[in-house]
Amino acid sequence: MKIAILGMGAVGRGLLEMADKKDLGLVVTGIADSKSALMDKDGIHIDEVLEAKRVHGFCGDKSLSAVDIVSHADYEVLVEVTPTNATTGEPALTFIRSALERGKHVVTSNKGPIARKYSLLQSLAEKNGVSIRFEATVCGAIPVMHTLTQGLAGNRVLAVFGVLNGTSNYILTRMEAEGLTYEQALMEAREMGYAEADPTYDVKGIDAAIKLVILSNTIWGLDTVLEDVEITGIDCLTTDALRLADDQNCTIRLIAQSIPSRGVLRVSPRILPKTHPLVVEGTLNAVTIETDMAGEITMIGKGAGSVETASAIIGDLMFIRDHYAGRH
């Protein structure tokens, strides 16, 4: 199956490495980063491109760009893994729309376009007889979208809630285990590479809220946006608060929760018994889906990382290959 990849950050590189290393039947015919692009309908030599990126900081021809790949490369699936823009979803949104309009499938890890324009993109895909899949946008390696759309098909989903942000979970875990202050735990998270220089998205609950919007819109076909979510971050938490919770055999986690029947759509620090399945350690993610037939299902796994995210993207690619086999 021929794929074109936009974005050569950690996720794009992780995907290329796996496509090169594992025998997945993926042929990469186009690659673009922020500065350059290259295409070859017979397949690009992945190892050479990774080497070029490592040495020069860009992957291909500087006279080409992502737009050229989207419109002219010979591919069946566009893999869009450029950085998230939570406000407009651009430029990824335009890339995705162009690919769908060309009758190409899209797999993305980019939260912006899905959180902003899910229903539009979904109907555009349907109109063109292709699919848009975005397993990697929520809970990293955890196959939550596959579980919801395939595994739990026929169930009525009543609620979804979980730990959707690994960075804030790491900070809370360290505050709880070592009695660190919020500032100390954040500094440690940065040193470990778990938090970005500007941790606002993570610690203020925005990243978790975007993922909650994606889950809600996908599960219930809603048109909620980030602004609909009631958000409280973890940046005002004290070590004392965690100690007080600890005295009760409880702890505090940043929980994203959507219960449409009760109008609940919120991200906030919550008190949970330490034995609760959502109390996971470090950068792990956990999500509970409550349904009418299956009851409660909780999944725990790695929420970030280049190879982990590649796992989610490859899962989507393999689904498209199997589902649309023989149609091309």
Binding site: C236, L237, A241, L244, A245, C250, I252, P269
Partner: protein, 163 residues
């Protein structure tokens, strides 16, 4: 709960049986032999715990056994929830914060554990609230959220059971 029944064998057991049937828990039975009412009827006081929504059913079942329910005492607050508050709890009139809950009549702050670090740094407090039942607890939390917004306090609520 004060009951009145015939002073005959088996009557007390008959009166108590419905309590366990509706999921109640008997804490004490006080048998007042000297407090005989007219017609040789006997007064018995029972202290029990029962989910609030089962109370009417219990009364009906007890009456079916030919026992009179004379009086139902003060409802106890059986629904407990623990929250943590962070901010300038003391300097935003803690007395008022607690009073806003207590004066609802259906909920009370029953315990508080506060940690106050250096001046100007936010305090943290664990607060135990008891309410008559789940609905009233939800109303109480709504009041608390409003108070927290007014006073710029952060309230950390427990993750409730869903469904």
């Amino acid at each position: 709960m004060k009951l009145e029944m015939k002073d005959a064998p088996g009557q007390l057991v008959a009166a108590l049986q419905p309590i366990s049937e509706v999921g109640g828990n008997i804490i004490a039975v006080i048998h007042q032999r000297d407090e005989k009412a007219e017609d040789d009827r006997l007064g018995v006081q029972i202290v029990l715990e029962i989910p609030d929504d089962r109370l009417n059913e219990l009364i009906a079942r007890i009456k079916d056994k030919g026992v009179n329910v004379v009086r139902i005492g003060k409802r106890r607050l059986l629904y407990t929830q623990t929250v943590i508050m962070i901010g300038h709890i003391m300097h935003t009139d803690l007395g008022d914060t607690v009073d806003r809950i207590d004066r609802t009549g259906f909920a009370e702050v029953t315990d508080m554990n506060m940690v106050m670090p250096a001046i100007n740094e936010p305090s943290s407090a664990l607060i135990v609230i008891r309410a008559v039942d789940r609905n009233e607890m939800e109303q109480t939390m709504e009041i608390l959220r409003t108070v927290a917004k007014e006073k710029d306090l952060l309230i950390i609520e427990p993750l409730e059971e869903i469904a």
